[in-house]
């Protein structure tokens, strides 16, 4: 059950509204690396956990709730950058064409569809999709997904930080970057709190996997190459359950020849003989 207060989690100010930056900020709202993704991802992961994972469930739900507040902060930032700007829609008649030109370089839907507001889309105007959300039911896999989400999210935020000089925007991003630092660390810490989770899913009986190829680096180079002596071709594996080795060649066995389809598929193009044989 959720609650809301009409207060931002952290102050959002914009000194020099910039509609271009408003377009870029959309990536942090509805993009692959954005806050809608993490908010939903952490929720769905939490809702899958049974009783004994209470500490993890709380960790996930509390963080999901925080991320909802980040969407709100970013939506506020977008609106403030779009409205009140000297570069906003110009009412001067002879500049209508120039205004239209400017708007196509910005996100036109922020104007046309949303009346100078934030939207659940990314910086190219592509709508957010549930396909970004990773929630596998397996806590270890989910925590790695969360490390990755915060890593790409923090990378996005640092890049946005470089594209603005606005003190308010820099301050907001400095806060969001800090939260991503915390979240990366908390997910890594949570992985450490698990007992021997790799290879995920660790509960699968590993003796049922093929024992010949499970710790072998398999080269796919056209010409066979000698073992490069990389950390992933020799030495102990990070899961401490095997030793890396090097195989210069894929095993290879059997062609891809499809069985005959049912005649009712009408796959047959009528009749065709081997065109490489004299006909």
């Amino acid at each position: 059950m959720f609650f809301h207060e009409p207060e931002l989690q952290y102050e959002v100010t914009v000194e020099n509204p910039d509609p271009h930056f408003a377009k870029l900020l959309q990536q942090a709202i509805g993009g692959q690396e954005g806050e809608m993704r993490v908010a939903l991802q952490y929720m769905f992961q939490a809702w899958a956990l049974p009783e004994e994972y209470e500490a993890f469930r709380n960790l996930l739900m509390e963080t999901a709730t925080e991320e909802l507040g980040h969407i709100e902060m970013l939506a506020s930032a977008v609106t403030k950058n779009l409205r009140g700007s000297p570069r906003q829609m110009d009412e001067d008649v002879e500049e209508t064409a120039a205004t239209a030109a400017a708007m196509t370089g910005q996100n036109p839907r922020q104007f046309l569809s949303a009346g100078q507001s934030a939207m659940p889309v990314d910086s190219n105007g592509v709508p957010f999709t549930g396909g970004y959300v990773a929630a596998s039911g397996n806590l270890a896999g989910d925590l790695y997904a969360n490390v990755m989400a915060e890593a790409t999210g923090r990378t996005l935020a640092t890049r946005l930080y470089e594209y603005t000089d606005d003190p308010g925007m820099k301050d907001m991003l400095s806060y969001l970057i800090a939260r991503d630092t915390m979240h990366q660390n908390q997910w890594l810490e949570a992985i450490e709190a698990l007992d021997d989770p790799v290879p995920v899913p660790a509960s699968f009986p590993q003796e049922e996997e093929n024992q010949e190829f499970n710790y072998t680096f398999m080269s796919t180079r056209r010409e066979q190459q000698p073992d490069p002596g990389a950390p992933w071709t020799q030495g102990d594996s990070p899961d401490s359950k095997g030793e890396f080795s090097y195989l210069p060649e894929q095993p290879g066995d059997g062609e891809v020849v499809a069985p005959e389809p049912d005649p009712n598929t009408y796959n047959d193009p009528n009749e065709s003989n081997d065109p490489t044989q004299g006909q």
Copy 2:
């Protein structure tokens, strides 16, 4: 530059063709956790790396190339499960309705669109999308994305393993699970080969992030809670750059009040007074 041989990377046989299993296998081809995702993800990551990352670039491209062969194996498995089955499309006239019923529970497009063949879609028939691919340009973030991809991929493969008794299918999946074990380990090893990569991106000057909230667990509970004493609320952080602390309350500052939009947006619903005040 790629090359191909008309030989499978590993043998694929099906003793008892099962069109239902053919539907499930699609998840491993075109699904969020599937092989199309990893093949493309590793390629695009590799193509972003400059000169000094040659060892990582080779690691990524060789693995991407291997994954292309996994798509091929799974496509072969799908076709073999769809064709030659006693449950395939029945030509017997009086059973047409039953056949149609059976097919709707399967993936109808494997029949209607593809003539009993594999497709670039997932187990619900949703097309593969480039939105699944994570390639951030930052190698550390990408490697975490790869650990996650192999973790969810291996989890998927183990679940598929439980849904078949076919010895050929079990053998193929046992091979794919083994490869996922290797790949999880190699990406973890590659992360270890990086020097101090967390928090990603480590090249961002961390002193520019907000120093008050970067190692603090921030509770979003409605009622303030005491510090749970979890590993993520106290002690050293995994990146060794901070110490966890606990904050029972979000900072909070300022309302979300959007600035006035340009009148040309016609956002104004005409006129509205505060409906909670006597009008």
Copy 3:
């Protein structure tokens, strides 16, 4: 800023877990008529409103927050229907094929991708998309969008109600249907609180629209028809700003002939003469 308590908004129980119903419930989570849509829609609408709309902004945000709790209830309902069911994945070896068959008729990704959990997708497994969210910046248009969202949402809930006998599920749906009744009514009431909002956007100077066709029903029948005497072809219009009339024929003026494209488009298929003239 959001808060959360680890308590459901309303009790969710399942007496007879039914994985089929778990598939149907997904429509109410991530579908076009689902709770993710309304939660996000109300938020983005609220965030676009300037100062003088405080009462509406609060109305929208409070309702958005409630809808987040509905997603949580439904996710709980899905998990409870998927797990602990006699029809769940069967470990009995000789029934593996039957289990696979059963699962393809259900949502296979609830098992394969989510380990028997809820997902941000609809009842066909199609991911939620931000394209479902309507937030135009114009409050009147948005309120009509909300009436429509609650109308289709309530219709969905009543249909789900018919597909279950489970007392717990019926009780939960009875609650959700009641909330949709309230929400439909509150949005209609909010429209009434606006002053003369139709035609949306009412702030556009209506004298600039074409005055000949703005209250005329224009027949597109092939054969001209007499005025049917419908309420929309005669009498006063609901916005009280015009009178309906009937036009048996579209105005019609000018052909669709595209100008010559730039030669650099290479649109020219080489050369083509009019094939209906002797060549």
Copy 4:
């Protein structure tokens, strides 16, 4: 059954071709608020209606057919804005880079994919999706969806009207805005022609919905608030079937704790104890 004449429904002229405006116009063709949406929406709604709804079916189909003609007008407008413009692709060698730069701010696919033509996409180049279409089978819900579609459609058209000075484009948009005025009014009138349609679906026996929460505004504020005395917290409801009341607190009952999943999901991350307890 449809017919066509090679004549536009209303004249479309462009005096000063503007490729930027051609990008903006795409929103009215293939966007969420565009003509493809309404044309298809009205058709699918009509096709769902049984015999006794003949007057509504005709209303829907005639309007759908009109909207097809609007797509045609807009496609013509796009082509005329893209071709013959002084800003079109420049053949002068030294300006190729500048032309490429100009085109990226426009919709590059109008050039690259369509040879300076209209496309079934929105103003960001996102393809039209059937997910925009609302057709619930319930006429009342559908009519509200249509009011909303025409409200957002008219809002879009008025915004486009502000972005052009071209007399031809202004005239075309003045016509489209007028038609949206008519269509908003006709759908509202059609709702009035229904007998007591709210809450949609009105045919559901309302006594089966929860009677405690169906006319109650439920506050989700963190801190309990007094009744704001808004029209939606007191007084009669618009459907005349209840009286609004105010509840300062969500009911709340039971935690989200997922049941144990089947072991074959391999959800178990191996073993994890409560990390908040000394281990």
Copy 5:
């Protein structure tokens, strides 16, 4: 400008309503090979053609208009298969669970979202997308796209024909298959009416393409293979502008090494030395 008559283009009857077949029919409405695709594709192609292509423009628009009528026929067929069926939603209380199970194997959204009606989606419930539409501006390319669309469309219709015994459905499909025969032939005939259209776009000055590799079959086999003597490795090319030859090896030149990115991308994972060299 379009017109409509409330009459089907060809009679649609269903003797034995079958909700499963209703799911399959959706592929012919909103699927990749369906009628929405061709109707829109032919329209957008026609709207791109300048004056001298009047005969082709009429051909395209008349066929597009016919396809609109096919959508209508198929929507009628879907509704008739969903409603009035003995397998439709059963009101008998104790069979609710069985009905829910049946519906998940069908398309649940035809019930839940559309009240037993047709939808703009495919046979897996995936919404129609504008991404299926091919309209390049180049008439020759478009006509090949149309041959392809009718070829895959006719293949789909023949497969549907095999899945039903219903005399009405067989008759409708026999009609649609016949129309696809005509349309395939008319597009091929239209290609023949063009003067030397291959290679598309023929208006590009072919001397500007690389002259070494434009008629050469380039083998990508790992091991060099002798010329297979296939029609595409020797003899005249179909465009009569070259002679096929065989090259056993890709040219190959230069590595994929990305230039150094801007430091502000924070691509640097901090510091990494070559892990294959002793560190």
Copy 6:
């Protein structure tokens, strides 16, 4: 089974890096007409072919493999255009806003999401989708799909060729255009190697299709028109199996009246009488 060498198929150089051109090039990677589409299309087609089609299967797989190398070339071209450019992200503080403005006209995700790298998206940033891939199981239909894919692909490449003066880019595109010439020709040649493949699917017994409408051009004009005497209204059809004729009128038969839905759909908007009759 695939192999890779760290060498490009053909040299890729960029003299004057241009981030705008990098955006346009994305269309050739992840767009509807791009290389990801053809690479995957040819693979899935090949994997569907049974034993006797070995020559075609090899043709398809060898070409698919070549196309993978084209994606690699284009990804390299994108990176080289994005990095090292004078127009790249500017570190000069006072120009941050201008840099942000420039980037919004470019593809912001190439910077924000990918750190100046190529992505699996099109020139508008829309992700690649498996919905672009056509693989019907019927070889003849597939080969026509391939002609069309290479026709639109070559058209795209010629348009890109016009937007750059860079000698390296022109050379790369000249190579890709040449390969498209070859591929168009090889697919046309492969169609010729089939025996009588039209109408696709030729294996369907043509006597089962409606014999009245299978070679008739059916006019959909509102007013009946005389036979235009076009090649597609008279004379032999290209498949040599019929003779074209002309029908000035669609057959027409029966209205679209949906059967009564199940009451449990709650389709009934409550009660509605015919609003055109006095009530």
